[in-house]
């Protein structure tokens, strides 16, 4: 390190030599402002950068743990596992991809569903694990989502889903496409029972998940600056052959075009959704 580098504050140093010495897992770098953040601190702040408010991606378990009242969550359909009936193989076998993803994430597939409480009120909540094959929706995701809907109907509780997904899981071919119909049909039943569904769209939610359960909320809520859309930006760029407008397919763009009801900071998510759900329940409040 030369004399000049020493003068530069550590959090704006980005060259390879400084990355080297960082112990794995203890520090995270903010993708937006490059600040080095102490991981436990960052998790306490719900994976939101305290320096620039960037909403970083968040694992499904941490999401549900921090969204539901402390220790209230009980997992639904935890034992549902993927099977490769097509024996699909591209450059790798789907079976091997599954094993690798399961090893990396410790999850069986890309959706976790729990029944728990939000500020005391019962709620069923689902969260996509983006690090499991891009949060892609295959048969297991579809089935677990439907089980979540069924639990909500059985207990007459609302459903809140945090999506983060690149879309359908190609390795399950048409079975994955049919999960769009399956999850949407289940949501029709939920709506027939007059139970609320809140869809929280987090970065990124595209393709088959956005074009099914993602956009079907009674309320669609987005986290700040999340990428949300049907087609990926690269595909659109190739199709239209022009530069995409600034902020295209970000939460703020969707709010402007009427696709989402509100953008909510992750740190206000519990308060906001609890308030909305209480009103949808028709709960009266003593006027001050």
């Amino acid at each position: 390190m030369n004399w000049f580098s020493k003068l530069v504050p550590s959090r704006i140093r980005t060259d390879a030599s400084t990355k080297k010495g960082v112990p794995e897992g203890l520090w995270s770098k903010c993708g937006n402002c490059q600040a080095m953040l102490y991981r436990p601190e960052l998790e306490r702040n719900l994976m939101v950068c305290p320096k620039c408010d960037e909403h970083m991606r968040m694992g499904a378990r941490l999401r549900l743990k921090t969204f539901l009242d402390e220790d209230s969550g009980e997992e639904i359909a935890a034992g549902v596992e993927p099977v490769d009936v097509l024996k699909f193989r591209d450059s790798k076998k789907y079976k091997d991809r599954l094993v690798a993803a399961q090893k990396n994430t410790g999850e069986r597939d890309a959706l976790i569903v729990m029944r728990g409480r939000l500020k005391g009120a019962g709620v069923v909540s689902a969260a996509f694990e983006f690090s499991f094959m891009g949060g892609s929706m295959g048969s297991v995701v579809g089935e677990k989502f439907v089980r979540g809907v069924n639990a909500a109907i059985e207990h007459r509780e609302p459903l809140v889903c945090f999506s983060a997904s690149g879309g359908a899981r190609m390795q399950e071919a048409l079975f994955s496409l049919m999960q769009m119909a399956k999850t949407s049909a289940a949501l029709a039943r939920l709506s027939d029972h007059r139970l609320p569904f809140i869809s929280v769209l987090t970065d990124p939610t595209t393709g088959g998940v956005s074009a099914s359960l993602g956009m079907l909320g009674d309320l669609n809520v987005a986290e700040p600056r999340a990428l949300i859309g049907f087609a990926g930006p690269r595909v659109i760029q190739q199709t239209v052959g022009q530069t995409l407008p600034e902020g295209f397919q970000r939460s703020e763009f969707l709010l402007r075009h009427g696709a989402v009801d509100m953008i909510v900071d992750r740190r206000q998510m519990r308060d906001t959704l609890a308030s909305v759900l209480a009103m949808l329940r028709g709960e009266q409040q003593q006027s001050a």
Binding site: A185, S210, Q249
Partner: protein, 320 residues
């Protein structure tokens, strides 16, 4: 090369050319060549049968996209009568990539809705190559709920490379439009028949593809992503489309075997475009008979069966 024939059909094209030639000479020749023509025609027929009995998924994809294949408007014109086209989503515009309206199927009034690719360049551009925008899906939903109100069955014809991936489509909520149709079609209180007539491209196809019976014409395809798209993402090479087509299992025979569709509607030898009249008759029969079968169910039975069908799709195992 004869543009009427695909690459793998060239041996048939060569035979057909020979037959044409013989017919031409036949007029001023003394030799009786009608026997020879008959022999070659029989040969051409058996050659076609043998080629078509073992098509690869990729070859079927080429047939499904054949430029002479009948499109939705052809079926609407020849399978149905009294078609009254209805336009517009009542919100933004009228999307020519989806055609819909009232029509009679052998006398019986129905609502027919189909994706339309366009035959020549001008029509292709007008129809956006059969890639609907949100306005198209919302028009389809408007017509479907109208059909529900007046107790008319809904017949959809699926033929699209996919929903349009464009800036305006995103601005007007492509995802929401597709999702809304999936939800509403699952509980539409009238019989819904969906048939893939050519290309069933992903969510853009499914958005008019949820119903009581999902059928495919024999040489149509249905997939979560185009073989080219799948190849470029998973193999990082769009030239691997043939492998991707095979791996995904996009043909009617395979999807029937997997239980993902209910019926394969047989095509004339060589494909629908070789004998459109025969295709119109077969499809008309299938649609008419299916509606009569569904008539025997009351609305609750119809909706429960539809729901169970939709929820049955998927493979997983469950451990403790």
């Amino acid at each position: 090369m004869n543009p009427n024939f695909l690459e793998f059909e060239q041996p048939i094209a060569d035979l057909e050319a020979k037959i044409e030639e013989l017919r031409f000479v036949g007029d001023d020749s003394e030799v009786n060549i009608s026997e020879e023509i008959a022999r070659l025609e029989a040969k051409s027929r058996s050659l076609t049968e043998s080629i078509f009995s073992s098509l690869s998924a990729w070859q079927v994809a080429q047939l499904a996209r054949h430029p002479r294949r009948p499109y939705s408007t052809d079926y609407i014109e020849h399978v149905f009568t009294d078609f009254q086209e209805l336009h517009g989503d009542r919100v933004y515009g009228d999307d020519p990539a989806i055609v819909g309206g009232l029509a009679r199927l052998r006398g019986r009034p129905v609502m027919v809705i189909g994706q339309q690719k366009g035959r020549d360049t001008r029509e292709k551009l007008h129809r956006n190559f059969g890639m609907p925008r949100p306005d198209g899906y919302r028009k389809a939903l408007r017509l479907m709920t109208m059909a529900e109100r007046f107790g008319l069955p809904v017949v959809t014809l699926i033929d699209t490379p996919g929903a349009f991936p464009g800036i305006d489509a995103e601005e007007r909520g492509q995802s929401e439009a597709i999702a809304r149709n999936l939800l509403e079609m699952s509980r539409l209180r009238t019989p819904v028949l969906c048939t893939v007539i050519g290309e069933g491209g992903s969510g853009g196809a499914l958005a008019i593809g949820v119903g009581d019976r999902v059928a495919m014409l024999q040489y149509s395809i249905y997939s979560v992503i185009s073989p080219e798209g799948c190849a470029s993402i998973l193999w990082k090479d769009s030239a691997k489309a043939q492998e991707a087509a095979a791996a995904m299992g996009i043909t009617s025979a395979r999807l029937l075997e997997l239980g993902l569709i209910d019926q394969v509607v047989e095509e004339p030898l060589g494909g629908a475009h070789r004998d459109p009249e025969a295709m119109y008759r077969t499809l008309g029969d299938y649609l008419f008979n299916s509606l009569q079968e569904l008539d025997t169910l009351d609305i609750r039975g119809l909706l429960d069966a539809r729901y169970e069908r939709i929820l049955a799709h998927g493979n997983f195992r469950e451990s403790a």
